[in-house]
Symmetry: C2
Subunit: 415 residues, 2 copies
């Protein structure tokens, strides 16, 4: 049996015991995990040093090395993340619906763990701990497959966490790490129907595309965001500038940052030059439609391909539109249904935008950067779903649950 | 552009208008559709006669021909189904959660249509109407791909329904039928990411397997059920016999019927012979474990493959177990997480079974045959989901919705 299949099978065998745990038992295990991480910081940092040395030998970029790097402070922060999960309400075991049928059947819909969750992710070793904590808090077993660049770190972390689990009421086998660094182990995970209940990819566009295109196991797609801000004619200048600037510049590398600014022609005539100057001062490269280029000669021409690109960088498309309909049409054509914003003082336009834009999060007068489980007050985030099935937008703990119907009768048969 | 892609694109263009409709407008369209079906019965039956004649020429089985066949009564029944959908509450447009953040952001989670739903199904032309009605009631556009054996009937029905839509507030393009009978049109639908939000297969095991294995679009898996009834030591004899008999014999061809009967050894010693005789009188072929064969010499030996087979027929596996743990282990090994039942007077065992069995519907003292949207009181059923994502068990109208977050601010930006 392959490593992947064996570990998924062991995880599956742990689910019965996991489903029976009380919240207090799960929380106790998470606290033991947090303490163990801090206590074993030195050993984890030593393993991490191996990853970093191998990365340097292989010419890994400094920015990637920085994302992999662990130090006592970062480990303390990761442990603190586990303790925060302890504080969150347990979404498992609740009666979500209760139905009494005329024939006397009593039906209850109960929230239950999903079962076995596969997480496929890239370099950051903090995802290892974070995903383990979120899955175990919700009574799920988890099979982690992290990037090979952090393999030594991940192996040590999971060893430490499993040792902590062995001192808890949770089954150790609920937490599995696939250590085969080959592409084949990912491919195999994606086809483990019957052993994995869901696969969640966390990482860049190519990782997510590979999972979506090749998985036969159900997937929760996360990630890609080509987000827009539309500044309407009636927008307050200061507010519009602040929201647009924040959406682009506060953290350009993330999925909820803005890639294209749509500006009503009247607002553009009065204010676009100032706004553009502000972006350019912040080293944002501007690519504009024809009318934009007339107002901002230093911008380059935006292509349709630009409008369809998630830059995740200091680059911004600017397009001038005649009215809200043109803005809606642009978003319908190029948006990825992630996060979209209108800045307007026109209540009718705000209402139309919130109604008609088909996206996980639609904003009136606030930055798209708020699409985030913590900003929504969920206290945790597994990722941001960009699909419409099961969960949409920022996913908190309830996104890691399913349901089952319990039906109690007194001998009812169907006629 | 292929027929499939063109029709999915047209359906997608209809979604904005669909999302804005009021419940009354959708209901009016459904009633127009129902009336049109009855009014055009003659033309539909003429088209249906073509399918039946072609089927007979091709040597189609009489049972399949019967499933395809339409007559005025059946059409009236199908139209009545649409009228029943009108009576159901509209699951779209509800505020499911409302969050006020310390920074003043007001966040609402709203139920919205899924978007464009692909339905891939087999022969019965009633599915054409049923699926159209359920999708349109929930504000979704739908792309139907029915079996080629009913193509003429489906084409005529969709023509009639679209004509009715043209007299309603609904966009005609919301309802699409793929008429290309080749396997290629199904294959193409399964890869229409970005155009279809979900594909739901309705049909036999091989159709469902094809969809699950080849779709890159999100799928709601429906169907396969290897369901068990466990008769515990303390079960009331009459109740146990009635439930087991009903689960097997009332309609063996469906997914919620029983395939394997698990019997506690003490109950078996006293009552299995009588129960077996009752099954055999009803022409149920019995396949038993070794101990069963001692009590029922007329049964044949059950293999592990038998335990893993969904017969959908008058065949039943019987296995004697020493205790509830053995029953749970058997269900864990061979169950498909559809519907499972314990018959017992022991409250502790009932509670253990309801807790530990991982299935969409778990029963205490009632037949598994009740796993059905109508029996649960949903008033409709799109199918029975056997996956854990999005929807599990019988799916009513809410299973055809997604959510979106609407966020209203006053200039908030992220710090």
């Amino acid at each position: 049996m392959s490593e992947v299949r064996e570990k998924a099978t062991l995880a599956g065998q742990a689910t019965t015991q996991l489903g029976k745990l009380r919240t207090a038992q799960k929380n106790e295990a998470l606290l033991l995990m947090a303490d163990a991480l801090v206590k074993e910081s030195e050993a984890i940092i030593a393993a991490n040093a191996e990853d970093l040395a191998r990365g340097r030998d292989n010419g890994t970029s400094e920015s990637l090395l920085d994302r992999i790097a662990l130090n006592p402070d970062r480990i303390a922060g990761i442990a603190e993340g586990l303790r925060q999960i302890v504080e969150l309400p347990d979404p498992v075991g609740h009666v979500l619906e209760s139905i009494d049928r005329p024939n006397g059947l009593h039906i209850e819909k109960i929230s239950v763990p999903l079962g076995v969750i596969g997480i496929i992710y890239e370099a950051r070793p903090n995802v290892t701990v974070d995903a383990a904590g979120l899955c175990l808090k919700t009574g799920n077993a988890v099979v982690l497959r992290g990037g090979s660049a952090a393999l030594a770190s991940n192996s040590k972390i999971v060893e430490v966490l499993r040792e902590a689990l062995s001192r808890s009421a949770l089954p150790v086998e609920a937490l599995q790490l696939v250590e085969d660094p080959s592409r084949a182990s990912v491919d195999e995970m994606l086809k483990l129907n019957g052993l994995l209940d869901v696969v969640i990819p966390r990482g860049g566009a190519s990782l997510i595309r590979n999972v979506v295109e090749n998985a036969t196991v159900p997937v929760i797609e996360t990630g890609a965001g080509i987000c827009h801000t539309f500044i309407d004619e009636s927008a307050q200048e200061t507010m519009a500038a602040a929201i647009a600037f924040n959406a682009k510049v506060q953290r350009p590398s993330v999925c909820n940052s803005m890639e294209t600014l749509l500006v009503h022609e009247r607002f553009a005539a009065s204010h676009l030059a100032d706004l553009a100057a502000k972006f350019q001062e912040a080293n944002v490269e501007l690519r504009g439609c024809e009318r934009t280029l007339e107002l901002i000669p230093t911008a380059t021409a935006a292509t349709n391909e630009d409008y369809a690109t998630e830059y995740n960088d200091y680059i911004l498309n600017v397009r001038i539109v005649r009215n809200i309909e043109e803005a809606l049409q642009h978003i319908h054509t190029y948006g990825t249904k992630h996060s979209e914003c209108i800045v307007t003082e026109n209540a009718e336009h705000a209402s139309q935008f919130l109604q008609e834009v088909d996206a996980a999060a639609v904003y009136h007068n606030a930055s798209t950067r708020f699409t985030d489980g913590f900003e929504f007050g969920f206290g945790a985030e597994i990722g941001i779903s960009t699909q419409k099935l099961h969960a949409r937008g920022p996913m908190g703990l309830p996104a890691l649950t399913s349901t089952k119907y319990r039906i109690v009768g007194s001998g009812q048969i169907r006629g």
